[in-house]
Symmetry: C2
Subunit: 204 residues, 2 copies
Amino acid sequence: MGLRERKKEKTRLAILDAALDLFLEQGYDATTVEQIAGAAEVSPRTFFRYFSGKEHLALWYHDYGEAVMREALDSRPADEPPFTSLLHALRAVADDIQELTPEDAERFLKMRKVYEANPTLIGKAVGRAAETELRLVDAVARRTGLDPDESRLPYLVVAFAMSITRVGFECPRPEVTGVSDLAARLRETVDLAERVFVPGWDRP
Amino acid sequence: MGLRERKKEKTRLAILDAALDLFLEQGYDATTVEQIAGAAEVSPRTFFRYFSGKEHLALWYHDYGEAVMREALDSRPADEPPFTSLLHALRAVADDIQELTPEDAERFLKMRKVYEANPTLIGKAVGRAAETELRLVDAVARRTGLDPDESRLPYLVVAFAMSITRVGFECPRPEVTGVSDLAARLRETVDLAERVFVPGWDRP
DNA sequence: GTAATTTATGGCAGGGAGTGACAGATGACA
DNA sequence: TGTCATCTGTCACTCCCTGCCATAAATTAC
């Protein structure tokens, strides 16, 4: 990796960390881009080159989570029922969270606190998740050979899987003290949900 | 109803209709609040007194839908399993859509077209739905006597029900030509979903 | 090592969203 | 009719975000 790329990564993290600290200190809404940029020692204009906006910061781990999930999905056998595949993908996400570097884990937990203090952010995150859903529907449709214009099954399968994700992540209590807690809760929710569907419901 | 209230309702609808037409004409993003206010013959400042922003316009029917759903939920027997109650509430929403006045039905369908042309709007709508979810979780927790801090069941029940709603409304094809189509599809999705859960899964 | 090229950064200008404050207009009501 | 409450428009302001251009830094070629 060249000096240029390393520098970019450093600024990206500087902005992210500055933002997280400011959010926790004085609240998400009360924090301006100008402040974040100032704390990270870049110009506001540069901030927008790294992040599309304040919201983008808050959704930082979503894009990563989606990538993990889609990779995991691709690695499942093609003839597996899609819901089963998605649940495995969710477990892969849980595993991945646990393997975050200490720095990333700290960022992750800080962001979680920001979410707890700003319920409207949850809405934005869920909105972002809706876009992920559309891509997953495509993936599931391709895997099953179903046409999403004809069958509502791919939509349902994905929507249910995302519900499980959301419930696993969102529930504020009991309090989460580390990424392991969170991973455990996600796994637990997957286990719980696994038992409530009639076997084979997700087969075309 | 006094003259004052009638006038307010008229302005509200004037703004809404002006916005819908502009959205369809030149796109949601390209339409400014100033234009909407101008077309509705009010000042921009007044626009913001009626709607918190452009987004609020797009979520106009959500608040109403939530109200319908919660009323329907309240009217179900308290000892009914919560998921069953929610599915009945969804059917109530479907019934309600069908009974919209022709004017409201037209607005509803126009808004749907705007959504189709602006996928990011779906995300915002889903985000709003997330707030609805939290309120429904409370309602379900109260009905079942479950503590949402202890059991993840209320969350799951509500999240699954909302998934069904979303799938029913969102799926763009086959094309929807009237509110009856939409109501039918919602009912259809509820019927489909009803069969995929193991009986009694939602009982504490 | 130096020159040429690519790429990141900062500053500036400007549009659009959204809000608070105040003055004037208009319906409500005695 | 006169008083009161409420709605409306104007103004000024902050913040978000983008396009544009000049500068500075890293990369590559020579």
